[in-house]
Amino acid sequence: MLKQLSHLRYHPFLLAGLLILGLILLIGPVGALFVDTDKAKVGSALPDMPPSSEYLLGTDTVGRELMAVIVAGTPKTLRIGLVAGAIGLGVGIILGFIAGYFGGLVDNIIKGTADVLLTVPGLLFLVVIATTIKGAVTVNMMALVVASLAWMWPTRTIRSQVLSLKERNFVLVARLSGMNGLEIIFRELTPNLLPYLAASFVTAVGSAILATIGLEALGLGPQNEPTLGMTIYWSLYYTSVLRGMWWWWGPPIIVIILTFMGLFLVTMGLDQIANPKLRRIV
């Protein structure tokens, strides 16, 4: 394990990305040791206070303490992304393997559906879904909504990888030695696809977080939860920019940007591992 970790230094992008993501993941649990997350509720502090020794990141117009909002909201936003990304990848693995391995009519239907849905701007579809269920959205429902459009890219990439792998000799040998389709998929194809699966997962998490924050900024998120996107929404709603309250929108934006950078660096790193040809390029 240690030896494998030390290999990370050959992959500076992956290392940097993992470090950034690690820091962001720690905001929730470590922050909760020092900050009372109950202060993220409306009316728990004086409104419109700039950062001071009492309120480290200041407070917003309805009396939420922003330090507590970040500590409570970051894990919620990450959870939406991780759950939606995991569902998207799971569905993508199943559909991608079925389409790629079995081919034929099933392949045409799956690939066709994914292609059609990919050309449509996902955010707009999500707007329709989220408007329909508006009012009682929870963090978990948000994850499900976003997951409904998170499976197309994983399906496409996994399908094309399976297509290129299944004609290789080792699959042929496995088939000749009497393995059935499922055995080949799990014992021969999956191990070879692991770096691709990891990269698709990271991409899926990234686009899920992007979609969530977009929906939330439009006012379609969980109204009573202090997620990062909802914080952006409220800061727009109460025109915080025009009132010079940089401490309201600044911290969530920094966390969001760092998250995207971390995810981006990790994808680049994983691409290098999966695709040695790229090492020279990137």
Binding site: V120, P121, T131, G214, L218
Partner: protein
């Protein structure tokens, strides 16, 4: 251009629109409560009428819009309405037609988006090509880091940061809106200049945020092309560097870039919708934001269909002109 290729592309376009319209029809009707009915009841209750009256009004509405008919009849009616671009009337601004509201906002969005995307695409592609070119200045290499950072930032969040620094702190640009409040939109030079001044900041944030994506993509394409034999051959022939750069390296790398542009239209439009919200720009995005706040369902669904239609059209057009850019591509009709 073979007819079969044209028909195939057209077919895909129609399927996308049909799928979008069908989902748009089904999703609200799958919900346990009918949001449109709820909203109508709510709107009527503001009028102070009694409960029985409300029911009556809702029934009248349902008869008017055919909501009491069997589902398949509603569906056919819905499809034919969409073909005529008729999305019903706005609930929040009652007599106004959804189509009229969208058409009033659309020119703002289209001009902002087209301009910003073209500038970002051209600038980013050029920058990426120069960074990859081994003979250009080494200082350009240091741009990779900042470009990488920029490409990780959603457009509208960058917009928020720009508004704060350039409009609020330094007062170089107007804080929000598409034109000075009180002036009446008309076709003359002073209004045009005013509108252009207001659109600089929103356009700038789209350009800046998407610059990185285009530059990094182009850089990758260039580098993988530079090792090809035709480059070595061009060098061996003693062609001037400028010719090798433009006609051999850039020309070949440009094609995947154009495909990427067509593929990213959905992402660009979604991002621009939110940029408009941040800037209070009078385009479709701001209308959508207001519609969501006032539960104006017909308007929301109308905007979604309209934007999907627009993106589908743009993708179709790009698909059709793409082979013109690349002589190697043969139209495949299958």
């Amino acid at each position: 251009m073979p007819l079969s290729y044209l028909l195939k592309r057209l077919g895909v376009f129609l399927i996308v629109i049909w799928a979008a319209a069908t989902l748009n029809f089904l999703i609200p009707r799958l919900a346990p409560v009918n949001p449109i009915r709820e909203r109508l009841l709510q709107a009527v209750s503001f009028g102070g009428a009694g409960k029985t009256d409300m029911e009556k009004v809702v029934e009248t509405y349902e008869a008017e819009f055919g909501l009491n008919q069997p589902l398949w009849k509603q569906y056919l009616r819905y499809l034919s309405d969409i073909l005529r671009l008729d999305f019903g009337v706005s609930i929040a601004n009652f007599p106004a037609k959804v189509t009229d509201i969208i058409l009033r906002a659309l020119p703002w969005t289209i001009s902002l988006l087209t301009l910003a995307t073209l500038i970002a695409f051209a600038l980013g592609t050029l920058l990426g090509a120069l960074i990859a070119w081994p003979k250009s200045s080494g200082a350009l290499q240091f741009l990779v880091g900042p470009l990488l950072t920029l490409s990780a930032v959603p457009y509208y969040l960058l917009g928020l940061i720009l508004v704060y620094f350039l409009a609020f702190s330094f007062k170089l640009f107007p804080l929000s809106g598409g034109y000075t409040l009180g002036s009446i939109p008309r076709f003359n030079l002073s209004f045009f200049l005013d509108a252009a001044y207001h659109s600089i900041l929103p356009a700038f944030s789209i350009v800046l945020a998407s610059l990185g994506t285009w530059a990094l993509g182009m850089r990758g394409m260039m580098i993988s092309g530079l090792g090809e034999d035709y480059i070595t051959f061009a060098e061996a022939k003693g062609l001037p560097e400028r010719v090798i750069f433009l006609k051999y390296a850039v020309r070949n790398a440009l094609l995947p870039q154009t495909t990427a542009l067509a593929l990213s239209m959905g992402y660009v439009v979604s991002g621009a919708v939110l940029v408009e919200v941040v800037f209070g720009y009078p385009g479709v995005g701001t209308v959508l934001y207001r519609a969501i706040q006032t539960f104006d369902y017909f308007l929301i669904y109308g905007i979604v269909i309209m934007l999907i239609l627009a993106i589908g059209l743009v993708t179709l057009i790009m698909d059709l002109i793409y082979p013109l850019l690349d002589p190697r591509i043969v139209y495949q009709g299958e």
